[in-house]
C-alpha cells in the first residue's frame, strides 16, 4: 500500500508547487506541511492500530526545523516506551516505513526509547544534535512530553561534550573545503558559508544558557541559500547541493554578478559560524591548549593584546585617530601568525565601511603596507585585511576581483581567494616547513625584498576583471597606477610591474619550450635580465601554479619549474662577463658605458647611470669618488676610481674595518680603465645611523684606500674574530672552479660560513696570486656566504696548477 492515494500529498503535486515557489523559506514550510500530512496519514492508517499508546512520531534534524528541501532526507524518530515486543508491532512498522518509501520519501528513521535518546553516545553525537530540533508529529503525546521534559536536563549536563564535538566536526568539515567559501563551484550545504554552518550557529546558540539575539543579516543570508538549494534540488531532481557552472547560469543571465551576491551571503554565514565556534571554543579549551594560549598572550603590548589566541586592540577608538595603527595591528598578525578576533574584525570592518578609520596619506601608504607584507605570515594578515575591507580600500583594484568567478577547468577558487592562497604558499616557503620545497625555500631566502614578490602576487590577476585575454598586461598597468599613487619608489615599482606582466612566462616556457635547448635558456635570460628577477619570477610561478588547486603542483611540474630556473640561472651567470657594451657613436655617455658588461644596463635605471656618470666626473678631477646612501634599510657604497690590482679587496677591507657586514657586491670595469664597484652592507651595531659623522668618516677612509693612502691590513689588524657556530651547525666550505662557464674567465664559486671580512680575505687571496676579479656576485643566505667570482690570470683563464694551489688557499681562508 502506498500513500499516493491521498491526492494532496502526491509527490507529483509537490513538484508542481515547488516550481511555482520563489521564496525558499515558504517553499520549505510548504514541503514540510505536505510531508507532515503524508507521515501522519500513514501513521493513522498503518501504525496506530498496532500502537494504541507507547509510540510517538517525532520529526528531528532538518525535518524538525521545518526545513525540508525537495529532495532532503526525512529524519524521523519513532519514539517508543519500550523495545518492540509483538510481531504485530514489527509488521505494522515495516508496512508503515515501506509505504512512505513507496510515496517517494527518503526516510532516515530510527526507533529509540527515551532512555536511549537521553544517553550521550560519543560515537553517535548526531543523534543528540538532531534532538535539538525535535518536533512532535503524532502518536502518544504523553510519551513525547516525557522526552521533552528530560531533554533540557540532558542538554545541560552534556552541553560541553556536544558543543566540543560540534566544533570539531565544523572545523573538520571546513578543512575538507580548504577553509574557504570561495570555491568556483561551491557546495551550498556542506561548504564553509553553507547551510550546515547556519545549522551550527543555531545548534550552538540553543546549547547556550542565554541564546544570542537574532541577526537580520543572517536571516537574509539564510533565506537566500534556502531559495538556491530548493532550486538546485528541483532542477537536478535529486539531493544536489553543488552550485555548478551550469546551475550558476540557470540562476541569472549574469552569473558573475549573481555569484558575488551568493558569496556575500555565504560570507555572512561563515563569519557567524566562525564567531560562534570561536566563542564556544574559548569556553571549552583544555588545560594544555589554554596554557599555550596563555603563553601566546605574553606577546601582548601596550596597544595590542592577545586573548585566547586572538588579536585585539586595547583601545579600538584609536582606529579613528592613529593613521598607522591598522598597519601595526596587521604587522603584528603577520609577524606572530595569530588571527584577529571576530569582534576586532567587525569593528574595523564597520570603520572601513563608514570610511572613519584613520589612514596615512596615500603617498605614504606603501611604506606602511610593506612592513605588513614582509612578515612571515603575510597571508594571514592579508586575509584579515580582506575580511575587514581594508585591502579593497587601499587597493581599489582588489575590489574588482573580489568573489570573481572565472570559469576554468583547473582553477578551484575565485580570483581573490586564489591570490591569497598564492601568498600562503610563499609563507610556507618562508617557514621552510616542507622539505620537498627546500630548493625554493633557499631561493626565497636569496631574494632581496620578498615584499615585492607578495605585492606582485596581489596584483598578478587583477586584470582578470576585464576577462582572461591579455590580463597580465592589464594587471601590470593597474599595478603601475596604484603603486605610484601609494608612493612606491620607481626602482621597486619597475620590478613589480615586470613580475606582474610576465607572470605567465615561465609557465609558457615549461609547457612549450625544450628546456634542454640553449635557445630556451637565452630567451628566458633575455626576458628576466637579472638573477634577482629570475628568482622572483620563478617563485611567483611556483605560488601561482600551487594555488590553482591543491593538486596542481605535482612533483613532475615542480621539477620542470626547477629546470626552467636552472636553465635561466646558468645562462645569466654564463654571460656575466662575456657580453660587453659596444657603443656605436662615441659621446660622453658612450665613453662611460664602453666595455661594461651588458648586465650593467639591465640592472641600473637611467637615473642611476646618470648618478654614476656624475661620480665619474668627480673621480676624473679628484682620482676617486665615493657615495654612501641608505636605501630600503640597507647601506649602499658606490665608488668610481681608476683600476689597480687589489682595489676591490681594499674596498671590502675598509668597509669590514668599520664592523659592517657585506651582503652583496657588484664590480664593473669599462674600456677606459675606470671601475665602478658597489657594495651593499648591513650595519649590525647601527654605527652609521646613531653616530652623526661616521658615514662621512667611512667615506673618507674609502677614499684613502682607493687612492692607496691607507693600509687595509693595518685597519683590520687586531679586530676580534667572531665566535664560530658549533661544529654541527657550521657550514663546510667548498670551492669550485669552472673553465667552461665563460669564454674569457674562470668561474670560481665559493660556499662558506659567513663572517666579517670574509670577502676581503677572499679577494686579497686572488690578488696575492696575480689574479684579477672581473665580475663578482655575492649572496648571503643567513650565515651562508655564496660568492661567485669571474677571475682572470694574465688576461686568460686560471691554469689548472694554479687552480689547485688557489683552492687550498681559499679553503683555508674560508675555514679561518
Amino acid at each position: 500500500m502506498t500513500i499516493v492515494a491521498n491526492p494532496r500529498s502526491s509527490p507529483v503535486s509537490i513538484r508542481r508547487n515547488e516550481v511555482e515557489f520563489q521564496d525558499g523559506a515558504s517553499l520549505l514550510r510548504g514541503r514540510t506541511t505536505t510531508v507532515d500530512g503524508q507521515v501522519t496519514y500513514a501513521y493513522r492508517t498503518l501504525l496506530a492500530g498496532a500502537f494504541p499508546r507507547g509510540m510517538a512520531l517525532v520529526a528531528v534534524g532538518g525535518y524538525g526545523r521545518r526545513e525540508l528541501f525537495p529532495h532532503s532526507d526525512i529524519d524521523l524518530l519513532l519514539l517508543v516506551d519500550k523495545e518492540l515486543q509483538s510481531d504485530e508491532q514489527r509488521t505494522g512498522l515495516s508496512v508503515f516505513l515501506r509505504s512512505l518509501w513507496d510515496g517517494n520519501l527518503r526516510l532516515s528513521q530510527s526507533v529509540r526509547t527515551i532512555a536511549e535518546c537521553t544517553k550521550f553516545d560519543t560515537t553517535n553525537v548526531e543523534l543528540a544534535i538532531s534532538l535539538l530540533d525535535a518536533r512532535f508529529l503524532i502518536g502518544d503525546s504523553e510519551l513525547f512530553e516525557q522526552l521533552a521534559d528530560r531533554l533540557p536536563k540532558f542538554f545541560r549536563s552534556q552541553r560541553q561534550s556536544i558543543a566540543q564535538k560540534l566544533c570539531e566536526m565544523t572545523q573538520a568539515r571546513h578543512l575538507k573545503f580548504d577553509n574557504t567559501i570561495s570555491h568556483l563551484e561551491p557546495n551550498i550545504k556542506e561548504g564553509p558559508g553553507g547551510l550546515r554552518d547556519l545549522h551550527v550557529v543555531g545548534w550552538l546558540s540553543k546549547l547556550r544558557e542565554t541564546p544570542p539575539a537574532p541577526d537580520p543579516a543572517l536571516d537574509n543570508a539564510a533565506a537566500f541559500l534556502f531559495s538556491v538549494r530548493a532550486h538546485l534540488h528541483t532542477q537536478a531532481g535529486r539531493d544536489s547541493n553543488v552550485l555548478t557552472f551550469d546551475m550558476q547560469e540557470e540562476m541569472s543571465p549574469d552569473p558573475a554578478v549573481w555569484m558575488r551576491e551568493f558569496f556575500r551571503h555565504a560570507r555572512v554565514i561563515h563569519r557567524s559560524a566562525l564567531g560562534t565556534v570561536e566563542a564556544c571554543e574559548g569556553m571549552l579549551s583544555s588545560g594544555l591548549i589554554r596554557s599555550f594560549r596563555d603563553w601566546r598572550s605574553r606577546l601582548s603590548n601596550t596597544e595590542i593584546s592577545v586573548i585566547r589566541d586572538r588579536v585585539m586592540l586595547r583601545s579600538p577608538q584609536n582606529l579613528f585617530s592613529d593613521a598607522l595603527l591598522l598597519f601595526r595591528l596587521f604587522e603584528f598578525v603577520g609577524r606572530h601568525g595569530i588571527p584577529l578576533s571576530i569582534d576586532t574584525e567587525r569593528r574595523i570592518r564597520e570603520g572601513v565601511t563608514a570610511r572613519t578609520v584613520a589612514l596615512p596619506d596615500p603617498a605614504h601608504q606603501w611604506s606602511a603596507l610593506k612592513t605588513v607584507l614582509s612578515q612571515p605570515h603575510a597571508a594571514l594578515a592579508l586575509h584579515g585585511m580582506d575580511n575587514t575591507g581594508l585591502l579593497g580600500l587601499l587597493l581599489p583594484a582588489w575590489k574588482t576581483i573580489e568573489c570573481l568567478v572565472i570559469r576554468d577547468f583547473y582553477h578551484r577558487y575565485t580570483v581573490d581567494e586564489h591570490t591569497l592562497i598564492t601568498i600562503s604558499h610563499i609563507d610556507r616557503l618562508r617557514t621552510g616547513s616542507d622539505p620537498t620545497r627546500r630548493r625554493f625555500t633557499e631561493m626565497l631566502s636569496e631574494t632581496q625584498d620578498p615584499a615585492l614578490l607578495v605585492i606582485a602576487l596581489i596584483f598578478h590577476d587583477v586584470g582578470k576583471s576585464d576577462g582572461l585575454s591579455g590580463h597580465a598586461q592589464a594587471s601590470a598597468r593597474e599595478a603601475s597606477t596604484q603603486l605610484t599613487c601609494m608612493g612606491m619608489p620607481e626602482e621597486e615599482r619597475l620590478i613589480v610591474e615586470f613580475l606582474v606582466e610576465h607572470h605567465l612566462d615561465i609557465s609558457a616556457v615549461i609547457n612549450s619550450r625544450d628546456l634542454s635547448d640553449p635557445a630556451t635558456a637565452v630567451d628566458l635570460a633575455t626576458r628576466v635580465e637579472t638573477l634577482e628577477k629570475l628568482r622572483y619570477l620563478t617563485l611567483l610561478t611556483y605560488a601561482d601554479i600551487s594555488a590553482v588547486n591543491p593538486d596542481a603542483m605535482t612533483p613532475w611540474r615542480l621539477e620542470q619549474l626547477w629546470h626552467a630556473y636552472l636553465a635561466g640561472h646558468r645562462e645569466l651567470t654564463r654571460e656575466l662577463d662575456t657580453d660587453r657594451i659596444h657603443a656605436r657613436q662615441p659621446d660622453h655617455k658612450s665613453d662611460w658605458l664602453e666595455g661594461f658588461p651588458v648586465r650593467y644596463l639591465r640592472t641600473h635605471s637611467g637615473s642611476q647611470i646618470d648618478s654614476h656618470m656624475q661620480l665619474a666626473s668627480e673621480a676624473k678631477e679628484t682620482g676617486a669618488a665615493v657615495e654612501i646612501v641608505r636605501r630600503s634599510g640597507a647601506w649602499h657604497l658606490t665608488v668610481v676610481s681608476k683600476d689597480r690590482p687589489g682595489l676591490l679587496a681594499g674596498l671590502a677591507g675598509a668597509v669590514s674595518s668599520f664592523g659592517m657586514n657585506i651582503v652583496r657586491v657588484e664590480a664593473f670595469a669599462n674600456n677606459s680603465g675606470w671601475i665602478l664597484d658597489s657594495l651593499m652592507f648591513e650595519d649590525p651595531m647601527r654605527t652609521l645611523e646613531l653616530n652623526a659623522g661616521e658615514a662621512d668618516r667611512l667615506r673618507q677612509l674609502v677614499r684613502k684606500v682607493l687612492l692607496g693612502k691607507e693600509d687595509v691590513d693595518r685597519l683590520l689588524r687586531g679586530r676580534a674574530r667572531p665566535q664560530l657556530p658549533t661544529r654541527a651547525a657550521r657550514i663546510l666550505p667548498a670551492v669550485f672552479f669552472d673553465n667552461e662557464a665563460s669564454a674569457s674567465s674562470t668561474l670560481v664559486e665559493i660556499v662558506a660560513q659567513d663572517r666579517p671580512a670574509l670577502f676581503y680575505d677572499l679577494a686579497r687571496t686572488f690578488s696575492a696570486y696575480g689574479c684579477s676579479i672581473e665580475v663578482v656576485l655575492i649572496d648571503t643566505e643567513a650565515h651562508k656566504a655564496i660568492d661567485v667570482f669571474y677571475v682572470t690570470h694574465q688576461r686568460g683563464k686560471i691554469p689548472p696548477e694554479l687552480q689547485s694551489t688557489l683552492q687550498g688557499e681559499l679553503l683555508q681562508v674560508c675555514a679561518s
Binding site: I510, N511, S512, T554, W556, Q560, L566, A734, F736
Partner: protein, 112 residues
C-alpha cells in the same frame, strides 16, 4: 581497435594535441610521467651541489582508435612530436579486445 601509447617530450604536447585534432582525433588521456630510454639522465650543478637527473620528465599520451585510423594517427603523432634529437620518445601500439561506454553500455568501435 588499437591502443596507442606515446611517450613524448613535455613541450611537444600542445603540438601533438593540435595535430591530432586537425585529423579529427580529440579523445586522449594525458599523464605526466618520468623515465629515460637511450637519452639517460645527466648531472646538474647548482650552488656547488651536484644533482643527478636520471629520470627525465615526459608526457604519456594514450588513445584507443578504430584499426582504420591507426596508421594516420601514428604518422601525425610522430610527425608532431619529432625534433630529431635523442629523447623525442617512443610510440607503442596494442590490440584492444573490447571498449564499453559506461554511460550507455555502447560496445566496440561505437563506444570510442
Amino acid at each position: 581497435m588499437k591502443k596507442i601509447e606515446a611517450i613524448i617530450q613535455p613541450f611537444k604536447l600542445e603540438e601533438v594535441k593540435e595535430a591530432l585534432k586537425n585529423i579529427g582525433i580529440d579523445g586522449m588521456t594525458i599523464t605526466e610521467v618520468r623515465g629515460h630510454g637511450r637519452q639517460k639522465g645527466h648531472k646538474e650543478v647548482y650552488r656547488g651541489h651536484e644533482y643527478n637527473v636520471d629520470l627525465l620528465p615526459k608526457i604519456k599520451v594514450e588513445m584507443v582508435l578504430p584499426d582504420l585510423r591507426v596508421e594516420e594517427a601514428l604518422k601525425t603523432l610522430a610527425g608532431a612530436a619529432r625534433t630529431g634529437n635523442i629523447g623525442d620518445g617512443k610510440i607503442f601500439v596494442f590490440d584492444v579486445a573490447e571498449a564499453i561506454r559506461i554511460r550507455n553500455d555502447d560496445r566496440g568501435e561505437s563506444a570510442l
